[in-house]
Symmetry: C2
Subunit: 97 residues, 2 copies
């Protein structure tokens, strides 16, 4: 039986990843954590845009952030997502710098 309700959760997960900015964020966090300001510089996007994309990733448990003073450092919080992104991007080294 191919009850499609079974696919709703995994589809939601993929959907959260399926955007160039969000994919770039996750790829950049695969190896090192990073704060929002640095991301926004690297991505050349307004802070609000980056925060919104981070919220979408957070809502799916793909990333999570820890606050250090005024900054929040994000990391990838889902191992399955790490594997998927590595397969998708051919395991290349990606870093925010």
């Amino acid at each position: 039986m191919n009850d499609s309700s079974k696919y709703e959760e995994p589809a939601r997960l993929l959907k959260a990843l399926a955007h160039p900015t969000r994919l770039c964020i996750v790829a950049g966090l695969l190896n090192d954590s990073c704060n929002v300001n640095k991301m926004k510089e690297c991505l050349n996007l307004p802070q609000s845009t980056v925060s919104q994309q981070l919220a979408i990733l957070r809502n799916q448990g793909i990333v999570d952030g820890v606050r250090h003073g005024t900054e929040v450092f994000y990391k990838v919080a889902n191992e399955k997502v790490k594997d998927i992104v590595k397969v998708l991007l051919d395991d290349e080294e990606i870093v925010f710098k």
Copy 2:
């Protein structure tokens, strides 16, 4: 440099997968090919809906179909996608029947 144009193609691929029906179709085609009518029965969706979702998957090279008479048999045409879907769905056996 985290130039996000680099992520546009892979994001498009994920986006095509990121829908319960399309994910279900791809999962169902992982091991065996299938024609549209059988899919539509299994999925309990109108033929036009299934064909539209197949068109989206075809446009990203995720599936392709071969015609046998009036029927078109679809299969997964992208190895990376197979790997991603297996990781995502924990490698479970899925078949249209």
